[in-house]
């Protein structure tokens, strides 16, 4: 018996809503579990890839160096890489910061917000926290992406349809009703 195909997921600069939409396939998740093995994902406890994956699902765009590293790792490890949702596809709401210099965003949050107690006037700058990118990048500007599922988030049925199509080798033509651009 050939081993079950593996699926990995990652959340980059998004809100986790796309992962929630994956969970919104509800009881079908138990059916999915009989057909695939889950690899690295924030909803299980595998912190690193365990093996090569048939499908990688990425939510969110890239807003810091850590997002880029993780996305590159997904590209290397996954046969088919899916950009799931608006943040992965076009940066989404986090990309609203792209028209504003990054320093202004940081100063607003850490120096100017009412109620802020910052006697030394510091911005978070510790070596323990990652470099922010100058702007938020959609995933396909960083690595090659094979499939796009739009929506904020995409409906659970769209995710289910794409996954089952990929897993059964059918073409994953999107269903019109599943195409959401909100």
């Amino acid at each position: 018996m050939s081993p079950k195909p593996r699926i990995a997921t990652a959340s980059l600069a998004g809100c986790f809503g796309c992962h929630m939409s994956v969970l919104d396939i509800d009881e079908r998740i138990l059916e999915l579990a009989t057909r695939v093995e889950f690899d690295r994902s924030p909803i299980n406890d595998f912190k690193e890839f365990r093996d090569r994956c048939a499908v990688g699902i990425v939510e969110g765009g890239c807003c810091n160096e850590e997002n880029v590293e993780l996305l590159e790792k997904f590209r290397k490890q996954c046969d088919v890489l899916i950009s799931l949702g608006d943040c992965a596809i076009n940066g989404g709401v986090p990309a609203m910061r792209n028209n504003i210099p990054l320093r202004e965003c940081l100063e607003q949050a850490y120096l100017k917000c009412p109620g802020t107690y910052n006697p030394l006037n510091v911005l978070p700058n510790d070596p323990e926290i990652p470099l922010l990118l100058n702007r938020v990048y959609p995933c396909h500007e960083v690595v090659k992406i094979d499939r796009f599922i739009p929506g904020c988030p995409p409906p659970a049925d769209a995710i289910w349809a794409a996954l089952t199509a990929l897993l059964t080798g059918r073409s994953a033509e999107p269903v019109y009703e599943h195409l959401k651009y909100d």
């Binding site: 986790f16 579990a33 909803i43 595998f46 504003i100 607003q108 323990e128 990652p130 922010l132």
Partner: protein, 498 residues
């Protein structure tokens, strides 16, 4: 140290780091190998407070919920409540208020079920040999909902179906399950049809029964293992939440701010949320993108507090639904007149709120006001508004100023998990001090203990980062001179080792 604005380069040279994952823990030890302190670093920054400026105010309830896909309804409602005040319509019509409350309790129900069954249950269900350090030692293959499903299929299905039910309530009231548009400044954009109501009602009794069982699971686990759990990541603290203005009852949608100290003495007496800046401040520390709120009067050192289910059950005088109130009484019995300061009791408290949520949902569904046609209120226009709700993870503050051109000119958000920043750091420090001191190597089981302590808070790191429940963690042992003695990146291979 500056953003260079691009010019073909991808990176700005702002904060420097080399972190894998979204949350990071560092543990600092003195010369003799004793843990001095530990830190949970929040490594994400998105800048909502800046890029929301200049947007028309009516967009805000739809935009800001993108802070979080796990509790979008909380941000949606907090922003909508603020914008109610901007349009002078904060006295909602009964229909609007009840539709919003239904949406909110649906959110509480799905989020608490998600956390307990999908994320935290593997910590409880795979056994303990009686010591805190090994209590949470299930191998990583088992620490997920699918492993729970393999061993406890009925329970896993219940968890999945409960979350589904909460999501369905959100869909009926907000238009979609994630990032809905149901609440608008001054009210809601739809009521609930009788057909929708009947559809939701038919499963309510089953959900109530399952919620009752969930309280039992959480209570029994806590009581059976109380000796191990009581000290685990625990410490005395203040607690803060909204309570109902008239009588101090638990109220997750509307109320006044109350805080109690470790002995349940009131230290913030039912303050109108519009005055939150008079009583709260947020400290910036350079090693985290998440700020550290504290009660102004007590200062940063003593004024920090916990929020969320544990805090709410400590601050609220009672619960206004029958079964949850009885469960609350049982919960309070444990510490009599003091506050419950046991970190792991968050889970039990969370399930009591789950039960409360489904009782509220049933009560609301049977209320004919849901089918009313008056959906919007309005009044004299204002330029500034604060709104506070109790999100699943705790007190959530939204504060806006809007100019005459309808543009947002100021936005300040204190998300629930931010309120728990100091306590989560204390919990990490406590676990590290109790279990790591004198060690040069950290086993996978010990690492999981750190996560278990953080997970008790159900941190919604989407609001600050993006991981949920199971955060990838780097743990470093740093000696007094700052030299890294040992470093362990949590991965699948390492995590299972005892």
């Amino acid at each position: 140290m500056t953003a260079d604005g691009g010019k073909g380069k991808r990176y700005t040279i702002l904060p420097v780091t080399r972190v894998e994952g979204h949350g990071k823990v560092t543990i600092h030890m003195d010369d003799s190998g004793v843990v001095d302190h530990a830190r949970l670093h929040i490594v994400e920054f998105r800048g909502f407070e800046r890029f929301i400026l200049g947007r028309p105010f009516w967009e805000v309830p739809v935009i800001v919920q993108r802070l979080c896909g796990i509790c979008p309804v909380s941000h949606h409602l907090a922003a909508a409540k603020a914008m109610d005040r901007i349009v002078g319509g904060e006295r909602l019509t009964p229909t609007a208020e009840k539709v919003r409350r239904l949406m909110h309790y649906g959110q509480i129900f799905q989020s608490h079920a998600l956390h307990f069954f999908h994320l935290a249950s593997p910590d409880f269900l795979f056994g303990t040999d009686g010591t805190a350090a090994s209590a949470f030692g299930a191998p990583p293959e088992k620490r997920n909902i699918l492993a729970v499903a393999a061993k406890f299929p009925d329970l896993a299905v219940q968890g999945v179906m409960m979350r589904k039910y909460g999501q369905e309530i959100i869909r009926r009231t907000a238009g979609k399950k994630i990032h809905g548009t149901g609440a608008v400044p001054g009210g809601v954009n739809k009521n609930l049809s009788l057909a929708e109501r009947d559809d939701l009602l038919k499963d309510a009794d089953r959900m109530l029964a399952w919620a009752r069982e969930a309280v039992g699971i959480a209570r029994d686990f806590t009581m059976e293992h109380l000796d191990e759990l009581a000290p685990f990541g625990s410490f005395d603290s203040n607690h803060l939440s909204l309570v109902r203005e008239s009588d101090g009852a638990l109220d997750l949608y509307e109320g006044v701010l109350r805080a109690v100290d470790k002995d349940r003495n009131m230290i913030l007496v039912d303050v109108n949320p519009q005055r939150y800046l008079d009583v709260l401040m947020e400290e910036v520390r350079p090693w985290s993108y998440m700020k550290f709120p504290f009660l102004k009067e007590l200062g940063p050192e003593y004024g920090w507090y916990r929020v969320g289910p544990l805090a709410r059950l400590n601050t609220a005088s009672f619960i206004d639904t029958e079964e949850a109130n009885a469960a609350h009484g049982e919960f309070r019995e444990l510490h009599k007149d003091r506050a419950n300061n046991v970190t792991m009791c968050y889970h039990w408290a969370r399930m009591i709120e789950l039960l409360h949520a489904i009782e509220k949902i049933r009560e609301l569904l049977l209320d004919p006001d849901l089918q009313g046609r008056e959906l919007l209120a309005s009044g004299p226009r204002r330029e500034e508004a604060v709104a506070v709700v109790e999100a699943p993870r705790g007190t959530l503050f939204h504060h806006y100023r809007v100019n005459r051109n309808d543009e947002v000119t100021m936005c300040n958000l204190i998300v629930s998990t931010t309120n728990n920043n100091e306590p989560m750091n204390r919990a990490v420090t406590k676990v590290a001090k109790d279990h790591f001191s004198g060690r040069k190597e950290i086993s996978g089981k010990l690492l999981n203990c750190i996560e278990v302590a953080i997970r008790a808070y159900d941190p919604c790191l989407s609001c600050a980062t993006h991981a949920v429940g199971e955060m990838p963690l780097d743990v470093e042992l740093v000696d007094a001179s700052g030299e890294v003695m040992a470093k362990m990146v949590r991965d699948a291979g390492a995590a299972g080792e005892g």
